[in-house]
């Protein structure tokens, strides 16, 4: 009787253990920062889509911009013994102890979108991030190619002073245009990554540059500032996209709307699909034990009016931007 029960119990356990392995369905915990911006919301929805595509069970924990919530979420993922943990770290330091716990539990951790302090390099499997210096380079290369040999005065709308993304996007753009003597940044001010400030700063650029006549192109560190700048140009009687070329970064839906209306020229995508490459890396690691490189760089794709902006707008606007 007891022997029979024991046998039955062990058989059930064996079956339970065997089942997930047979279906190969992964459970992954994702500690997301929160809904700090439209891009972040899009990242969350794309992550869900990518997980569903691969039949992965993705558990998302919203940390509401607090590291302590992220640490709590990771601990709870470890307790649930998930197959892997995705982490979009809100800050770069203070992860060592919780990541050690994950390592001891043999749960691989993949960083999404942001990196952490180098001291913790051996504590995670890989980091999937975009290269913001490269994004600036792509923008600069496009402008150089489009302008050709003509002299071109560029005005630049920088991101928030002190933000590493702003510094990197500036650096990349400067590197790209340094090779072309005819391209010159004549004015550069911060628009704090917002539409309102982008508009205000562009208004002053237009006044300072003879009503905008001497401006050949605008480069904005993000699309939102460019949307504001486009309004400022229109109100000054200029034709953005024609009188003044525009190139910005992020590829949010509203810039495609402007592009479809002929008021914007180019944008470099900061893809919200960080989870896709991360899921592929985890699948390869689990199946064949392939260790991915420490850094997986996402593509910084350039979009122009030739890419059917209206269609992209329609496909992107539902993502939560």
């Amino acid at each position: 009787m007891t022997l029979k029960a024991l046998f039955a119990a062990s058989a059930t356990t064996a079956l339970l253990l065997a089942l997930p392995a047979k279906a190969a369905e992964l459970t992954i915990g994702f500690s997301q920062i929160g809904s700090e911006s439209g891009w972040r919301a899009a990242e969350t929805s794309v992550s869900k889509q990518e997980a569903a595509k691969r039949k992965v069970n993705l558990k998302i924990a919203d940390a509401q911009q607090k590291q302590e919530n992220q640490i709590k979420a990771i601990r709870s993922f470890i307790a649930q013994n998930v197959d892997a943990i995705f982490l979009a770290p809100v800050v770069s330091t203070g992860w060592d102890s919780v990541l050690k716990e994950a390592k001891e539990a043999k749960i691989p951790v993949v960083l999404l979108d942001r990196d952490i302090d180098p001291s913790g390099k051996d504590l995670y499997l890989t980091a999937v991030t975009s290269d913001s210096v490269h994004e600036g380079e792509v923008a600069g290369d496009w402008l150089a190619k489009t302008v050709g040999d003509k002299a071109c005065n560029i005005v630049e709308l920088q991101g928030t002073v002190g933000a590493s993304v702003a510094a990197n996007r500036k650096k990349g753009f400067d590197t790209a245009i340094a090779k072309h003597a005819n391209l010159k940044v004549v004015r550069s001010q911060t628009g704090d990554f917002t539409r309102a400030k982008g508009k205000e700063v562009m208004e002053s650029f237009i006044k300072a540059e003879g009503g905008g006549k001497t401006i050949c192109a605008v480069y904005a560190h993000n699309d939102d500032m460019m949307v504001g700048a486009i309004q400022a140009m229109k109100e000054a009687g200029l034709k953005p996209g024609k009188d003044i070329l525009t190139v910005s970064i992020d590829a949010v839906p509203d810039i495609f709307k402007a592009m479809a209306a002929g008021e914007a020229n180019a944008t470099v995508e900061l893809t919200p699909n960080m989870a896709g490459p991360a899921l592929d890396a985890i699948a390869a690691f689990k199946d064949k034990g392939t260790v991915p490189p420490k850094w997986i760089q996402t593509e910084s794709k350039l979009y122009t009016a030739a890419d059917d902006p209206q269609k992209i707008y329609d496909s992107k606007k539902g993502l939560g931007y």
Partner: protein, 330 residues
């Protein structure tokens, strides 16, 4: 007029003239004006137009500060009203949109006023609650995204013109005249000042201090809501994360530059608005100057310090003593 513009306005006017002159030096075309699509166009117009939100905030803030209070929630109220206006703009008419957005500001003001006047909370703590929670409420309304709209009526509120004057500037001027007429055209202003000067004595003298405090917070909320609608109309969208961010500090600064004491008891509407214009004249000048953005805040701090030093009674006393000493020396 003398009631609106006391003699102590000299320092502010002087400061504004000096900053305008500096702007003229860094940007020779600063005073150029032309018509563009039936709307005046030039750096001076930018100053007025961009200064409008802070000027509106300072109109409410100055009354709150006159009662010895402070309202830290105005930036968040701007975000809430902007979010409401943008969400409703494409499905409702302008009157409904305005009523809802300004109504929200009124409710926010009532909440602050209730906490301060009825529950007796410290104003800085009471309004801090809405400052933090308000932005969250705005984000809930917009679901964290930038809500855009195309309603021409609401867009006109931000980008239109009346006889060449941008609509926001006309609204701010209208609000200044309205507020001035109400508080200085009656004894209301005096009662507000009495409440701030000594609430207990005023209470005993028959002033309804509780009603006074409640009403200034309500007015402050309405002004902030109007500023929020204009800010949203300006960019044709509501950006709950950034609309009005830190503007409460600019509004307080405008009031202080306008010579109103944070200890309450007296105030000047015109000088508070002048303070807002001084801040914006400086901001526009910094943008026109072409200095690297790393200097923006530093320049701002130095100019504000200079303007406040200009007003300091101790310093002008010190200057007087120095002048007398020089005169007595052989």
């Amino acid at each position: 007029m003398t009631a609106l513009l006391p003699r102590r306005g000299l320092a502010q006017i002087l400061a504004l003239i000096v900053i305008l002159a500096v702007d003229r030096v860094v940007s020779p075309q600063f005073f150029d004006l032309r018509l563009q699509d039936g709307r005046l166009f030039g750096s001076l117009i930018d100053v007025l137009n961009r200064g409008t939100p802070v000027a509106l905030l300072s109109l409410g803030m100055v009354l709150v500060i006159a009662t010895r209070g402070i309202d830290l929630s105005v930036g968040a109220v701007m975000a809430i009203s902007g979010a409401i206006a943008a969400s409703l703009a494409d499905s409702h008419g302008l009157p409904v949109v305005l009523a809802e957005a300004l109504g929200a500001g009124l409710v926010c003001g009532l909440w602050n006023g209730f906490l301060v006047a009825v529950l007796g909370m410290q104003p800085i703590v009471a309004t801090l609650i809405l400052m933090v929670a308000g932005r969250g409420i705005a984000q809930l309304i917009t679901e964290g995204r930038i809500v855009t709209f195309t309603s021409p009526d609401l867009v006109w509120l931000g980008n239109g013109a009346i006889l060449g004057v941008p609509v926001p500037v006309a609204i701010a001027l209208g609000m200044l005249i309205l507020t001035g007429a109400v508080v200085r055209g009656s004894a209301l202003g005096l009662l507000i000042e009495a409440t701030g000067g000594n609430a207990r004595a005023s209470e005993l003298a028959g002033v309804g201090t509780r009603a006074m405090i409640l009403s200034v917070y309500v007015w402050c909320g309405v002004c902030a809501a109007l500023a929020g609608v204009i800010a949203a109309a300006d960019i044709m969208g509501a950006d709950a994360n950034n609309a009005g961010l830190w503007l409460e500090l600019d509004a307080i600064l405008a009031v202080v530059i306008g010579g109103t004491s944070l200890f309450g008891g007296r105030f000047s509407l015109v000088l508070a608005v002048l303070g807002a214009l001084i801040i914006q004249t400086m901001n526009t000048g910094i943008l026109l100057s072409g200095y690297p953005p790393e200097f923006n805040l530093l320049v701002k701090a130095v100019v504000v310090l200079a303007v406040l030093l200009l007003q300091s009674p101790k310093l002008s006393g010190f200057a007087g003593v120095m002048a007398r000493l020089r005169r007595t020396k052989p």
